[in-house]
Symmetry: C2
Subunit: 344 residues, 2 copies
Amino acid sequence: MKITPVILSGGGGTRLWPLSTPEKPKQFLALTGDATMFEMTLARAMDRDFFTAPIVVANAAHDALVKAQLAEVGIADAAIIYEPCARNTAPAIALAALAAHDVKAPLLVMPSDHLIADVAAFHAAIMAALPLVEEGWMVTFGIEPTAPETGYGYIRIGEELGTGVNRVERFVEKPDAATAQAMIDAGNHAWNGGIFLFRADIYLGALASLAPNILAAAQTAMAEASRDSGAIYPDAAAFSVSSADSIDYAVMEKADRVAVAPVSMGWSDVGSWDALYDIGAKALSNNVLVGDVRANDASGNLIHADGIRVSVHGIDNLIVVANGREVMILPRGQSQKVRDFAKD
Amino acid sequence: MKITPVILSGGGGTRLWPLSTPEKPKQFLALTGDATMFEMTLARAMDRDFFTAPIVVANAAHDALVKAQLAEVGIADAAIIYEPCARNTAPAIALAALAAHDVKAPLLVMPSDHLIADVAAFHAAIMAALPLVEEGWMVTFGIEPTAPETGYGYIRIGEELGTGVNRVERFVEKPDAATAQAMIDAGNHAWNGGIFLFRADIYLGALASLAPNILAAAQTAMAEASRDSGAIYPDAAAFSVSSADSIDYAVMEKADRVAVAPVSMGWSDVGSWDALYDIGAKALSNNVLVGDVRANDASGNLIHADGIRVSVHGIDNLIVVANGREVMILPRGQSQKVRDFAKD
């Protein structure tokens, strides 16, 4: 059976301010090249030999962005579910599972604000996981960790269930630095990248037993949804009573048959300007330059110009981000300070 | 007799790029506060007890800026001479001298892109020079030098002719560093600030003997000028044949009765972003911040935001200049590098 991509595009982070804003969050920005992360996420699951038309769960405020970027990659038959309010991932995925054409369809749940450099490795991991998924397992993809990051959840990898798929021994919430290092040293851990593969009916069944409030809210919201040429507007009053829980907390950490497909695929959640420097293509003098930028006698900088020209001389190891309204400058390694500016 | 201010506003430098552009050069920018340098130059000679209406020599391309800024300071009766082409200062001042209502009127020639912090000192120097000017002397104001600058011409101050006025012993073209230091050490030298006071007829007489080609071109251009409600458009063909010489080269360095009024008046030609830092009001941590700027853990920076917001964290001793089209960043002390960017 073909896999149904479920694209979660409701996020609205501020860690890539000033480019990322609530009106145009990072998944809709072309941060690394010509395509946006939303478009690249769609493109990863566009081969109709393996995938059906996608289901996109979006914020209604991003309606125009979603439609324009679907058109940009040539998808005319997506089902778009506009969340009436943000209720975290478990309810969002419930809406998508209820909209699936076939209750046994495997759903490939993907955040739209991550990068995957090695799409072939991703596809191979999906194919490795698919037999277990069809048997009723829920699979999360475990990102091979490259550093003792404290900002991610971890998965302890258990016994092998099949080639490339292992039982999840346990989920570990965002750890402290020592715990993170210990897991890296132990070697049998992966980052939880928030990408999942499971049958719609299996997910809904898990919700029924583990989070019935979420399932009921989603069912009522979809039963009373209005529809308009491919767009689905779940009922706001019904959906708003749902708990706002992540799929990890509501389902994955508590369900029985949960597996992990470990994969090394050049994954990044592009969680900061520093991360974008790390993954960016280095020009001369280790600068990462995006947009209309002139850099003389400058090294190690990330300079991102969007609709404005940036000219620098003699600066090193800075992050410079500018559009027609805002300019932000800080040293590399301090991009978490963006939050101080973005909140105003 | 009242003094007639002659405001030279034809300049179009690029040293304060990206704010200063040929379309809107620095004299028309509010770089240090609410008023532009052109407006501040007008305001220095607006007291009608001592000054007549000004004569403004301008570039026709700056027509709207000139008129708007004259209106801003409340001057409705200026004579505006639009140079048909740029021919340096000697011909420009010749046009103004020919437009003076009284041939014996003392003309106070002022570039419009300089700052004078102590206007009272300037006025005192003018008053000190006026008796000699009325006798037929040509006076230049000698700026008390504060450093061995190599970018200015110098004046060697000779015998005293009257209180606060001395004979010019000699003009020194832009010196090398050793020569500049020797003049500073000697103590009897001033910078040539390009501000002059002389009678219109004396200047025109000096031109007749020292630069008759310039006088003839200016006379023909004015005789064949078109006029339109206060604006004078000298004939382009006639004016274009004039030599393009500075008043220093064409007249002051060669004439006989040339005096200097030494003055310490907080003068700056605002020749670079570094100069603007030096004269700027220092906020916390020695930052000079102009416009909508947020600076956290930052020190010693000049940050100039024009129609855009600039947010910085953890940067020191940089020059950051931004408008809606351009962002420029370089270290303090290197503002001469602006030329590399401005020429494109």
